[in-house]
Symmetry: D2
Subunit: 380 residues, 4 copies
């Protein structure tokens, strides 16, 4: 089958690889119809991870079930399904409590597995024609009859919509609260969108790319351009000097200041300043346990200098980590189905799989207008 | 001062009564600018309670502070404030946990106090020119500079908006869930509106008055007319036979079937049928510990025949009771202030205080179009 | 194999039945070493259900895995496991949220399945030499090396300990609170024990059997004998007239007053009186959707007359239903393992399987001292 | 009146100061009968804060009400009361939600006020004969008739018992979980004690002072001596290599390694290693926004280098800050009253107020056996 293969830093190609197939009785085989490029794919693309050469990338996948293993009960051939990026068993101590992003079974020795991702187990990704889905009864989200009509919305259920939502869940955003979202990339936009869906009274989004800030504004958020003045001051001024009730970090360790310098602790420390005492933060931007090639000496060993004294004095709290996609994907699916959510507003490009290498190049360069790319193997 | 006084069943008049005044150092005195008639006022109006003659009615009050007691810290003369219908001390075992609807101090021997209400303490209501507000620092909600411009919205923070919201909180409505609301009177409409604000994927509202069902539809809910077929069947059909995720009871003990017979257990038992196993109900329609003049023998002693076996087998849960207004009114105020909520959509009439007796008559008769009345003492 | 078979009202016998065996690739086969008689088995024994003749009873099971299906990953031959009485798939809408008592897969058309139980699916029970365990990776709780030494404790994890704990969870018992438990049978004792483990400051248990009240007292609870005066008055007097903070119903629809008359609503209505305003109830005593042979006309159609007006006025809430055993069994297992819990204190008899018919007779007669029976097929 | 006055680093004396008195109608005046020295008093004593000279110290206070202001309703002369160390108004945005440690009224410009403490408002402490208590109805916890008999227990409700409990609440300790507590000083011991009361299956306490570790062991915890090997390895070994379910930080920024070097990030980073993925931390050890005289360059500006990448990859969360004493003190009081908790087990010395300067010296030197000191003005 055709697949997008990682060959080394900034080198990905479409190649023929062995067909994905059923390997265990609990597997399903899915013909991919849509698969996104994720911002976190760029960490691998840029060579900042130890992902192995030859890996098929792609963890935001949707398609049609074409075969199921002998132990699969619920999922049937012909079902249209969206796959959470996390691969989870459903029965370990974490999965049984809904913490499916931290499965103890699928990637032995580590809490968490995913398709086509560094350190997340031996699983190939779905930027390909076919995908093997382990523990299919647990991992497949079945889609309603409008699956094809709203495919660009439903494919967002694989990662980015639940991940943005997870930020608001970690921050425990309540109706009527004010929320600041750091970062207006796809994940930040989904966090802001989720905050709006949850009934926040005011959502502020910090970024500096005009196209991204425009998208934030288009969903009712207040765009805050951090090249136009201190983002802390701007948030304070939008909240009568009180600070936002809650904050979402959607940037991660590769945060840059407006002058282009990387500061892994910039977003967290600014959030500590701009969120009110007793406030809560949801941190979904990626941070890594070590970053040997990073510019910051602390960051090389995975540490950041946190403004801990202020954080503690303000009695703040925070939650972190990858989204447990299954915790939210049914309910978010229903919002799409009834027309109350339309996350595809972030999509800038829908391209054939063969254009993936070029798309990675543009996306990595943060080229104006390349917000979110859907790859479709069947596209001519 | 002028005030609306209860003289007996279906007999209320505007009379001159002694001016409300500061009685304790923690009081404030408020000049009322808007005060609503509430559906629950009709229980008293109709003579179904033991409210004393001479009582000034009115528990949905908003106005301007014109005097404060010597121990009042936070509230200042000139503040525009909305008053929760519950009177609460702020320091008893219930208030300190936010259960301000069940204050143990303000109405000794009973958990809960209110303005101008049967069995809720010796407090006069605000359908009058002035209102005494006990524990003013705790009870007054200060309004922002747009207080007068949006007064018709803000006055809904006194009771009906938080009460409708409370139904969704008791039912623990989550984003993406389906919700059925029984009753499309003002409280039911506010519950439906709150469910929409919280991100429900589908809100179904059951009633039979076309004007009320139209209002439900206008906010994005699905109107269900129980004269057009079994409401249980209709909800099942809207939810693929599964039942709604959550339910809100907004009718109370005076529920009638389409043929006009009163069945105090009708709404609860129908909700048990139309909500899915493990679902949760929020019951904010009023039920009373005894109803000596009621038509139903069980109801006379405050009992209803609940379909308990089905309820238990489905593993359902429920919460009941008056709203703790202070638990929500700040956040709902902020939604009004930022323009994300506009609860005044239910208002049908804004009238001078002197028209109150006539308004009670129409409201009690459920006359077409009399959804919600605001009384304004200053209106010419 | 030998098994305890239901032949009709008050007629159970040990018979030879076909061996339990692996039927699906996700099954495990367990050799039973301990299996309890449950109070709810008596509903079937007494002929108050429609359980089919020929059914093997027994849903409180523990044993050793002797075979696994081809799709079983986690569970190995030789594992000592305790089985939740609920059979659950792990991947339906309810199971994935931890609501494993309401599985939508294992008993199609109904939310919930169990071993050897009326209306809970086509599964035989474990009062037998062997048991087939569906979805074995999800349903088996593995036991630590002290499995055999503490078998009488660990077998309580199948139902009764988590069920008693569930009552305290439904009631949301917090450290320092006072709790009233209605019923001092095995489930009530486990609810009281759980309340103590959770740090309740005062646990009151209502019953009238001296041996059961003594057991309650032995774990630090206050025994309340309802033949010695109104249980409401007694609880009020133990709580300074305030009422208990929380309540647990552990009796169900076959509640009798001290004079021996059945009142299905007695315990719920008394709890409404004896728990404080804003309090919460956990209802785990069994109530059934219909009871054609019951003495009470309402109860025959599954209804009870609830003191709803008082319940509502006090702003109370409640949760009901079967325990989701998997939600608690790991943590309760760890309490047994570290010696902090010893639920076997309720065991009165450990008997060979062949004595089961006689044990049912004594247990059904509530004979003095027959609190809890463990059956062991291997016992000589 | 006599009072313990701060004169400068390591210089405190008993002096005559003006009598505390009623200043506002909402005040009460309390004759102090017991007042503790707190570990956090040592930050001031050692000169690591900017507390003003002349301040009366002491925020762990209990006594008898001898006068009340004209607006005080609930509290009466003669009441025995324990005072939360936090001074809170009861009506601000934080207090009304129970976040009384972050009152916005009592110390304008800062969220939080306390008696006799640096940066926590102009309030004198209670290491004195009398104490002025603002907002008395809200702040006084009334004690039951055994107030004097159990005074050594009840005085712990002012700070240390609720503070230890708060650590377990921030970490959301559930029955059956394993918990590691960093630090076995008075607060760490109270956290461990609280974890036991909440039903933890295993509580591990890390320290190196033998007397403190013995106290931990005496309440059923596992003592871990960090001079005997890596505390991370020891916790891993006690938890089958999995890590503890939850962690409590009870040391703060002045943490030292066994060699005596200060490492403000040592405890947090070790907890990140020794708690399992998805685990939660409660941080109640004090951290300060700046520490100009501290040895660590990051710490001087209030920062610590946190192992953020590992924290994030493990999907952990945490809560911080001072305890909201009122959130817990009623329930903990009831545990003392019914004999289920006896926090006075940490008391090593009960001394007359006049011995306070000497007691500070010993306590600051961590002299063997000086665990917790109660000062009693009336003691001869």
């Amino acid at each position: 089958m055709k697949a997008l293969v990682y060959n080394g830093p900034r080198n990905v190609t479409i190649q023929d690889v062995p067909d994905a197939k059923i390997e265990r009785p609990t597997d399903a085989l899915v013909r991919i119809t849509s698969t996104n490029i994720c911002g976190s794919d760029l960490h691998m693309y840029e060579g900042r991870t130890d992902v192995e050469q030859g890996k098929v990338l792609g963890h935001e996948n949707l398609g049609e079930v074409i075969e199921v293993g002998s132990a699969v009960d619920r999922i049937k051939v012909g079902d249209r399904v969206c796959l959470p990026f996390n691969i989870s068993c459903g029965f370990c101590k974490n999965c049984e409590r809904g913490l499916t992003g931290f499965c103890l079974t699928a990637n032995p020795g580590f809490a968490g597995a995913a398709y086509g991702y560094a350190d997340m187990g031996p699983y190939n990704g779905g930027q390909a024609e076919y995908l093997r889905v382990p523990y299919a009864d647990f991992n497949c989200l079945r889609l309603p009859p409008d699956a094809q009509e709203k495919e660009a919305d439903y494919v967002m259920l694989s990662d980015i919509f639940p991940t943005g939502y997870h930020a608001t869940e970690l921050a425990n955003v309540q109706p009527g609260e004010s929320v600041v979202v750091y970062g207006s990339g796809p994940v930040g936009l989904m966090a802001a969108y989720s905050a709006m869906l949850r009934g926040a009274s005011k959502v502020m989004v910090i970024d500096r790319h005009p196209d991204r800030l425009r998208l934030a504004e288009s969903i009712g958020a207040i765009p805050i351009d951090d090249t136009k003045g201190s983002p802390v001051d701007q948030v304070m001024s939008h909240t009568n000097g009180e600070g936002a009730d809650k904050g979402c970090e959607c940037v991660g360790y590769q945060a840059h200041d407006p002058q282009g310098h990387e500061h892994p602790n910039m977003t967290v420390n600014n959030l500590i300043k701009m969120v009110r005492a007793t406030g809560r933060l949801g941190i979904i931007g990626v941070f890594v346990p070590q970053d040997p090639k990073g510019p910051d000496p602390l960051e090389r060993k995975g540490e950041i200098a946190v403004d801990w004294g202020t954080f503690w004095s303000k009695g703040m709290s925070l939650g972190t980590g990858q989204a447990n996609v299954k915790a939210y994907n049914r309910r978010l699916r229903d919002l799409i189905h009834t027309g109350r959510a339309k996350p595809s507003f972030i999509v800038s490009h829908t391209l054939p799989l063969r254009d993936a290498p070029d798309a990675y190049k543009h996306f990595d360069a943060r080229d104006e207008g390349w917000t979110k790319v859907i790859l479709q193997p069947a596209l001519a």
